[in-house]
Symmetry: C2
Subunit: 335 residues, 2 copies
Amino acid sequence: METTKSTAVANSNIAVIKYWGKRDERLNLPANNSISFTMDDQLQTMTTVEFDGHLKQDVLVLNDRPATSKETGRVTAFLDIVRKMTKIKTKAKVVSKNSFPKSAGLASSASGFAALAGAASRAAGLNLSLRELSVLARYGSGSASRSIFGGAVEWLAGKKKDGSDSYSVQLSPQEDWANLRNVIGVVSESEKKVSSVEGMWRLKTSALFQSRLKTMDARLKTVRAAIKRNTFEDAVIPIMQDSDNMHAVMLDCWPPVRYLTDTSFEIMEKVLELNESHGKPVAAYTFDAGPNAHVYTTEKYAHEVERMLKYTDGVLRTLNCKIGKGIRFVNEDLF
Amino acid sequence: METTKSTAVANSNIAVIKYWGKRDERLNLPANNSISFTMDDQLQTMTTVEFDGHLKQDVLVLNDRPATSKETGRVTAFLDIVRKMTKIKTKAKVVSKNSFPKSAGLASSASGFAALAGAASRAAGLNLSLRELSVLARYGSGSASRSIFGGAVEWLAGKKKDGSDSYSVQLSPQEDWANLRNVIGVVSESEKKVSSVEGMWRLKTSALFQSRLKTMDARLKTVRAAIKRNTFEDAVIPIMQDSDNMHAVMLDCWPPVRYLTDTSFEIMEKVLELNESHGKPVAAYTFDAGPNAHVYTTEKYAHEVERMLKYTDGVLRTLNCKIGKGIRFVNEDLF
């Protein structure tokens, strides 16, 4: 197969119904469906890949610095999948740049592995469909599967043992969500103490986790229907409840996993007060595996939410994100 | 029946397997058994009661100040039960003193209603057994049922509709626990935002709560057996897990209930590190409906735990409590 230097761009996504727990660890298959919105270009990864017969090992440059061996190891494991698909034996050079800090609960692994899936498969001469790309990206990081699509996206858990039915589908294109915002309160930009992989691994110890899975379907149904109808308001409460539920299960693990800080909790309370003051649900908080607050709201209330976040002790900075595009291939390469 | 001025003293207790949720709200019957240790005289309430035909309404003096109407209302509701048992129609004067601040997660309602149950029943001319006192105290505050006994105590949920089989029993007398300490890190001395009553009321909204109830029996069995064998070490992990599990369920309620702060979480981590550094479980954290840390440990490690707490940012002061006595009647009255 003809190899070529290829560059892909993908954006991060922030789930409103969370992925937390796997039905198959090796294949990275989720225990439940999840739903997210893809973010705009403020939360973006651009990645260039070239397979090169001269290289003795894979080389990864991340945000202008040589990657750690742990980071390179994860990328090599991913490239091995592409090599297996294409019978390519050569090593690759991978250069990747985020528009935002890594591992700060801004879902850099989602945009990162989505962009890598695109660039690596294209560089290897493959021309995968979006669905195939979402399956491939999943091997790198579960949530990366969703970043292949723009707008509102659902990642299906699937039932098959080989994971071939676990891919993402677009629920609604980004054009439908021109009024939606994710106003982010960055509370920490440092790496989290307990990685998502480690955190999910501890789920075995939580008796409450099985109970979470049983209640997922009701929330999924409500949020999916609200998205299809384009009525964000109807999704607000279940979005917050799913975040709370996930963080509750984390706390029930042994040893307990905890990402929310006093600042996170203060933001949660303020969002509830905001909804109360407007007499209807206008904003929904959600927290990934980190303390950063993602407050989904409509354009009308975005400035009020941003002001609230700015005035909250412990918030380092805010980002006002629109809903963005799925993966795309570009002609400017990073090397 | 002959009435007389009576004074009782009861100590607070801190549960190691928590009471959180009721099977009957009117009768204050718990959804599950709970296990606690009764604290020493540092966490004590002394209460004097006298029924007095000259009074037009019940009078409550709490910590040298006239009580609020809310506090008086709760005491009147309790006195009504005693009046109903004895056909006494007169109002009562109640003077009560805590050795520690109210509503700061130091279980003042446990010692308070245990002492009130003793003093009020005795003042009304009743001579109740300890078991009967534990049933009576339960009407005031569930956990007060346990403060009737010293040492290690289990409050049985019971099954009967009328609650007559929901009383406390002593698992092991305080003499068996001369080496046990509860080293308390006081993180807040202000009243909690969400009362226990309100917090438990919200349990209806948590899907995880039913799952908690299903896992209680295993933890109860382990901790009960460890107490009977007098091997605290075997109870350490389930004690911490039960606290985590309860706070997880709280977070899963709607709106979410949250008592743990960054300081609480830091203490949790430090306790886990302490156990790791000793290569065995020597200390167990547990948190009631508040941010204050209760760290059960043995005499040998109590100073190390206390030092750790003192050096934790956000800890206002520490208390090193021994295991204490159950209710007793005294001759010095408060008025």
